[in-house]
């Protein structure tokens, strides 16, 4: 019965094999749990954070984390040079890092995915032009472009989202276009064409659902790179400006206190690693599961 309905539909079934918990080995399970925990913490930041992340207290400056001498009650991960609670700043920093990386990834996906889809469907000169742009983008180290944009337009949240949004578009464009080219050769597209479907119908109903799984994989892998890029720029003082905390800027500012108060740096650095490790492991696992041939880097 189900077979009949499936074959009677002209559309190919979604090749999106969503992997389940039981497929995962213990490393992936840990990564999954860590990832979920980080998302919950980021979402619930105002409820969880014990202090206002920007509340200063000169009397409790540079206190070490719990278990060390001079620890001040309540500040579990210690305080920074202005007496702000490191834990609260990390929680809010994580929230902002998450939000920025998410916005950046989605924008990159929309730009690159759209261009890749159009290039793959339209073909011809348009495709050559888009793929030429992709090659050009690949050839120029992105850090240079980011430095240029941030220096010129100033460092604000909007500009940061712009920079992160531009990052990675060429990867999406390349992958989507390659998939689309492959799919265009498939019999079901030919059948849809023969049945008189419009190009937009073919694009949205027949092609797009079939490129979802490579996009999901690329999105995850790209996310970890965007987190690294955002933290690096914020670390250099070019990203989100003080007093607002992101994990990267906390490391950057805490650098000056490294000899005497290393926890200011170590706690956010640990949070960054937790985040990038979890995302990287999940991305790689998804790639194996979806069996998408991406250029492994």
């Amino acid at each position: 019965m189900t077979d009949v309905t499936r074959t009677s539909s002209s559309r190919a079934s979604l090749p999106l094999h969503i992997p389940v918990w039981s497929d995962a080995n213990w490393i992936v399970r840990i990564a999954l749990l860590v990832g979920l925990a980080l998302i919950v913490v980021a979402l619930a930041a105002p409820l969880i954070a014990p202090f206002d992340p920007n509340a200063q207290s000169l009397i409790s400056r540079l206190r070490p984390p719990v278990g060390f001498e001079r620890y001040k009650d309540g500040f579990y991960f210690g305080t920074d040079e202005l007496g702000r609670d490191i834990l609260s700043r990390c929680i809010y920093g994580l929230r902002l890092t998450f939000a920025l990386a998410l916005a950046g990834s989605v924008i990159g996906l929309l730009i690159g995915g759209t261009l890749g889809l159009l290039a793959g469907i339209a073909g011809g000169v348009f495709e050559d032009f888009i793929m030429g742009m992709v090659d050009t983008q690949i050839a120029i180290p992105f850090t240079l472009i980011a430095l240029l944009i941030l220096a010129v337009m100033g460092s604000s949240l909007d500009v940061m989202i712009l920079v992160l949004g531009v990052y990675g578009w060429e990867q999406y464009a390349r992958i989507v276009r390659a998939e689309v080219r492959k799919l265009m050769q498939m019999p079901f597209v030919e059948a849809a064409l023969a049945a008189g479907a419009t190009p937009s119908r073919i694009a949205f109903r027949h092609i797009l659902p079939n490129v979802v799984s490579p996009i999901v994989v690329q999105f995850t892998l790209n996310f970890s790179n965007i987190v690294i890029l955002e933290s690096t720029l914020s670390f250099l003082g070019l990203g989100v400006q003080p007093p607002t905390a992101t994990l990267g800027s906390m490391v950057g500012i805490g650098r000056d206190y490294l000899p005497t108060a290393p926890w200011i740096v170590l706690v956010p650095a640990g949070a960054i690693l937790l985040l990038t490790f979890a995302v990287q492991i999940l991305g790689d696992w998804l790639r194996d599961k979806a069996d998408v041939r991406l250029r492994s880097r």
Binding site: T136, A139, P141, L144, L148, L150, A151, L258, L273, T276
Partner: protein, 308 residues
């Protein structure tokens, strides 16, 4: 072959034009550069005078043309802060950057090629898995975190290594490690994949059947055949990764190189220096990539015939 070379060169030229144009319009986007340079205490007439002096009252097309002419005649203007030609400032910093890069690339190759071979040979055993896990996680560690941790451990806690500058051989150790982190992770994976492709070939079995010792089979028959792919990938990846890595690492260790200069001029908005710095790094990367591309096609006829 000639067609392939011409195509690669044409692509390179287009990329160069795009980056030159991008740099120009990026710096004009933000409005009048004069406003950033000057403080509040300047009279209106002086401001007009400066705008006319720098030709900023001309139309954007004219400005772009003048910019192109000056770029191709090798004039890049004066630094806003140092009042010296920017080409001079950037060139002074090229050698320290190059030294650090060579050191990082050398270290990367020495570490990651043997690791990659090991991972390929012992891919089913624990050795292979451990190497790949390290290489895999290394890719997720930002260079600045490696740098900071090194400074904390070897600089401040153990007091073994100097933290700032490029005065002695000891100064190279930490920046080299910090830049190499991501490169080692990437190149180890490439080496493993390239070796895996080769190891399953028939000529490997033939070599073993001849009774050659295993290490000769691996190195002479395996690595030599894998090296063509490997070199091209390394060539294409290393320039970009190293350029990005050295920017942040040089800034951490106050290395007197181009990366440190770029970050500083971006923060202080010294546009002429930033423009020229970005341009020169991008050009170096693009030229290296094109060279590798052509060399690879020269070494492997399948490539030049497929694309050309």
């Amino acid at each position: 072959m000639l067609i392939y070379v011409l195509r690669t060169l044409a692509k390179m030229a287009i990329t160069l034009v795009v980056i030159v144009t991008l740099v120009f319009f990026a710096t004009r986007l933000s409005g009048n550069p004069i406003d950033f340079v000057l403080g509040d205490g300047i009279t209106l007439e002086d401001r007009e005078l400066l705008i006319a002096y720098y030709g900023l009252d001309a139309s954007i097309g004219t400005q772009y043309w003048r910019y192109l002419v000056s770029v191709f005649s090798g004039e890049f203007g004066l630094s806003f802060l140092e009042r010296r030609p920017v080409s001079q400032i950037v060139l002074e910093r090229a050698w320290p950057s190059l030294k650090l890069l060579l050191s990082a690339i050398g270290f990367t190759l020495i570490v990651s090629v043997p690791l990659g071979i090991l991972a390929a040979i012992y891919r089913t055993s624990i050795i292979g898995s451990v190497v790949m896990v390290i290489a895999f996680l290394g890719y997720a560690v930002p260079a600045f975190i490696i740098g900071i941790l090194l400074v904390l451990i070897f600089g401040y806690t153990l007091n073994w290594l100097p933290v700032i500058g490029d005065g002695s051989a000891l100064h190279f150790i930490m920046p080299t490690l910090a830049i190499s982190g991501m490169l080692v992770a990437a190149i180890t994976r490439f080496t493993r994949n390239a070796m895996l492709d080769v190891l399953s070939q028939d000529y490997m079995r033939t070599a073993r059947a001849k009774g050659l010792p295993e290490w000769i089979v691996i190195l002479k028959h395996g690595l030599r055949n894998a090296s063509i792919t490997l070199l091209s990938v390394i060539g294409l990846q290393i320039a970009g990764l190293a350029a990005s890595g050295s920017v942040v690492v040089e800034a951490i260790f106050a290395w007197p190189g181009i990366g440190d200069l770029l970050v500083r001029s971006a923060i202080l908005r010294d546009y002429p220096v930033l423009q020229f710095g970005v341009l020169s790094v991008a050009i170096v990367v693009i030229v290296i990539n094109a060279t590798v591309d052509i060399a690879y096609a020269y070494a492997d006829p399948r490539i030049r015939l497929a694309k050309g």
